[in-house]
């Protein structure tokens, strides 16, 4: 017994303390989402009277198109995740498997432009998309299509880089065999590589989904109309002043918005960690 204490007690103490630290804000959010008072307070550590008023506000209040925001977020993130991985996978394949001039330069350039902080190109992006708006109002500033295009551009660097790491780890024997059998690069790509890499592509697209779902600054800059906003922007404005500090509905809203992300994350934990160690940090 004492031996057990000596060996394992500190482990459990560390674990419990850190778990409490990790859970504290989350528990508080859950608590205040069921509390009508509208602040992030701990009036008691257990819910006294559970009220669903905050959730009802989200779904019924006309000033808060929460469902539309959620839909916008899911559509934008989903589209970006799928498209950027389809496009990125082709580039990653070429970087990983094809031989051509300037490959090393290309990879270095990719690394380099990835280091330019995207936020700092914000003003330039704004000016460009403002000009696009002049001749194509459906694509320029203020539109979701424009935002998606910008996201796709931004996702390229990270995704090609991440995918390349994964592709490198897929044994090359198979596609070399296909090459010997006379398959062209395109055939190798579609018939050997894509089926083999499908799980990896799925993981990277989910990572991309999470990243886009989390994006805030560009979305806020681009989406001016309340109805076009994403859930992150919508909820931020919600406590930012427009409705004064209204934590109850915010808490309810962020819980609902977080559930899909947390579920994706927990179920893919293993892959995500290996993907992250391959060279990127979640934003």
């Amino acid at each position: 017994m004492t031996r057990w204490l000596k060996e394992n007690l500190w482990r459990h103490i560390t674990g419990v303390v850190m778990c409490l630290f990790a859970l504290f804000p989350l528990y508080l959010v859950v608590l205040s989402s069921f509390n009508e008072s509208g602040s992030l307070q701990v009036s008691s550590f257990y819910p006294k009277d559970i009220s669903f008023a905050n959730y009802q506000v989200l779904f019924n209040d006309e000033r808060i198109p929460y469902l539309t925001w959620m839909k916008n977020s899911l559509i934008i993130s989903g589209f970006v995740a799928m498209t950027s991985v389809i496009i990125g996978a082709a580039s990653a394949f070429a970087f990983s498997r094809l031989k051509f001039q300037g490959k090393r330069f290309g990879i270095q350039l990719l690394l380099l432009i990835q280091m330019f902080p995207a936020i700092l190109a914000l003003s330039a992006l704004y000016v460009i998309m403002e000009r696009v708006y002049k001749f194509a109002p459906g694509l320029g500033i203020g539109t979701q299509a424009g935002l998606i295009l910008v996201y796709l551009g931004g996702a390229m660097g990270v995704n090609i880089w991440l995918l390349k790491g994964f592709v490198d780890s897929i044994p090359a024997e198979l596609d070399e065999a296909a090459k010997i059998d006379g398959a062209s690069a395109m055939q190798t790509y579609w018939q050997i590589f894509v089926p083999l890499a499908a799980p990896v592509l799925a993981v990277v697209s989910l990572l991309s989904f999470i990243g886009t779902f989390n994006e805030f600054i560009l979305a806020r800059l681009f989406l001016i109309e309340v109805e076009t906003r994403t859930v992150a922007v919508g909820l931020q404005q919600f406590i930012g002043g427009q409705f004064s500090e209204n934590w109850g509905p915010f808490a309810a809203g962020s819980i609902i918005a977080s559930i899909p992300i947390v579920v994706i994350f927990l179920s893919l934990q293993k892959y995500i960690v290996s993907g992250l160690t391959a060279g990127s940090v979640k934003g």
Binding site: G15, F265, K282
Partner: protein
């Protein structure tokens, strides 16, 4: 064989259809861009069309077939903005100097209005007369009515106009009024209407026109403005403004963006109003990133060590511990912001204090580090426990046989190995936190800052949020200076990351 052939045909058909479709869409866009005078964008789109068609119909461009869509997106939305930022950093691009010189010229002329001695204003109706834009003016004080077009003034007989109860003319023969909804956007509202030759009438709003005369005259041969009132000459100062020859402080609004070459960069080092805040922000950025990485790594490693043994409940611990990392960070940061609220926040409530967390520089900094610890320790827990398992157990056993106690084994064997494995990730994390805009922006907004003194840099501002404040903040917006700082940050982060890459030797496989 046959199925392969069919599939080949189908693939070819899909390819042609896709190329044709994207060509058609891009061509339409390119044309409308050209029509609106956006020649650069039109040209870019046209080159893209050529590239697409060449790449997918030629046999020689195999790698490019894979790269092209990615390259186009990168070029349009990553590379171009970066280059644009570089160019902006050599301009005096700031509040008051946003527009091009041509726009500034016409704006200065439009704004150079001098009211007449009595600041006369009339009730008007905007409309058309003999199919030219015109206004129907009611000079109530003199009981006179007239129609004014840009070229002439047509006096009306007071008895022949329809007036309302305020003696304002509503309609006259030959005059058609515009719908009030159309006026503000119509060209008619921007015209100058004839009054007496020197003075003219400008539409102030829906139904008021005021009498002005031109106060400045542009002399294109000399590229100067001459004041029609005092005769002063305003000359281009080569820094985006027309400045009065006799008085350096008197310049015309608005200015325009003008190349200022390295001025913005020189300001970073020479102008103390720019340099001093920049230095203190830079120091805090480094401190913040270092402390963040250290605390996150320390707690992550501690947990990894504690849970490195199959103790009871390890899986539960693990699932709970990754939750902060799995939550969308925007939400978590905002939630923490609420918890630090002075009056209603949970943290003060638990501590039983009234700490104004975000009003005091030290407390605000502590809060920022604490929140970032919460956000990031699970990541280091995950990667450290992975790396712990990657350390060969023979090494540890050998050390134990040599008589090392657990503490010695950890300090002399485990930790150095771990640091070696994780150093690229530590560097990457440092680089990421160096630019952790979301955290600062959403938690403290960079504050507290002394806004009364016009201070832009707040106590928790890191370089990137400071730059954002300079470019888009509430005070004077200076895109040129912000771009110059952006370029500086780029070099800093690029050197940190390149150092990290070299450490992890990622590039080795291509050499």
């Amino acid at each position: 064989m046959l199925s392969g052939l069919i599939r080949g045909k189908v693939a070819l058909f899909i390819k042609i259809a896709l190329v044709a479709l994207s060509t058609a869409v891009l061509l339409t866009l390119s044309q409308s861009a050209f029509a609106k005078g956006e020649y650069v964008i039109a040209g870019f789109l046209f080159i893209v069309i050529l590239l697409i068609n060449y790449t997918y119909f030629s046999k020689r461009t195999v790698p490019l077939k894979f790269f092209l869509p990615g390259i186009i997106l990168l070029a349009a939305f990553v590379l171009t903005p970066i280059l644009y930022t570089l160019v902006m950093s050599t301009y005096n691009y700031k509040t008051g100097n946003y527009i091009s010189k041509e726009e500034a010229l016409s704006r200065i002329q439009a704004l150079a209005l001098e009211p007449d001695a009595n600041a006369s204003a009339f009730d008007i109706v905007v409309g058309e007369f003999q199919s030219t834009p015109a206004i129907l003016v009611s000079d109530i004080n003199n009981n006179s009515y007239f129609i004014s077009t840009p070229k002439e003034k047509i006096a009306l007989d007071a008895t022949k106009v329809e007036i309302d109860e305020y003696q304002v003319a509503q309609s006259a023969e030959g005059f058609t009024a515009l719908e009030s909804g159309d006026i503000s956007s119509s060209a008619a509202a921007k015209k100058r209407y004839f009054f007496d030759g020197t003075y003219f009438i400008v539409v102030e709003n829906l139904n008021v026109g005021a009498v002005f005369r031109q106060s400045l005259e542009y002399l294109p041969e000399q590229d100067v403005f001459r004041s029609l009132i005092t005769g002063d000459i305003y000359r281009d100062n080569n820094n985006g403004n027309y400045v009065n020859e006799n008085n350096q402080d008197d310049f015309l609004e608005p200015g325009w963006r003008d190349p200022s070459w390295l001025t913005n960069y020189i300001r970073l080092f020479n102008d103390e109003r720019v340099r001093d805040p920049l230095i203190s922000v830079f120091i805090w950025t480094v401190v913040f990133a270092t402390l963040t990485v250290l605390t996150q790594f320390a707690f992550g490693l501690l947990l990894a060590l504690a849970l490195n043994k199959p103790i009871r409940g390890r899986r539960i611990y693990r699932s709970i511990l990754v939750l902060p990392y799995a939550m969308p960070s925007v939400m978590s940061i905002l939630i923490w912001g609420g918890m630090f609220n002075t009056e209603f926040g949970a943290i003060n409530e638990i501590l039983g204090r009234d700490i104004a967390w975000f009003q005091d520089p030290t407390f605000a900094r502590v809060a920022v580090i604490l929140v970032n610890l919460w956000l990031g320790f699970p990541y280091f827990y995950l990667v450290s426990s992975g790396s712990l398992q990657a350390i060969p157990s023979e090494l540890l056993e050998a050390a134990a046989i040599d008589g090392a106690n657990p503490r010695q084994i950890f300090r002399k064997v485990t930790l150095p190995l771990l640091l070696q494995i994780l150093s690229p990730l530590l560097i990457a994390s440092f680089a990421f936190n160096f630019n952790n805009f979301n955290l600062i922006y959403l938690l403290t907004g960079g504050g507290p800052r002394n806004q009364l003194d016009g201070e832009i840099a707040g106590a928790t501002d890191i370089l990137i949020s400071y730059t954002y404040q300079i470019a888009f903040g509430n005070n004077l917006q200076d895109l040129g200076l912000a771009s110059a700082i952006s370029v500086l940050i780029f070099f800093l982060v690029a050197s940190i990351s390149l150092y990290g890459v070299r450490k992890s030797k990622v590039l080795e496989s291509f050499s």
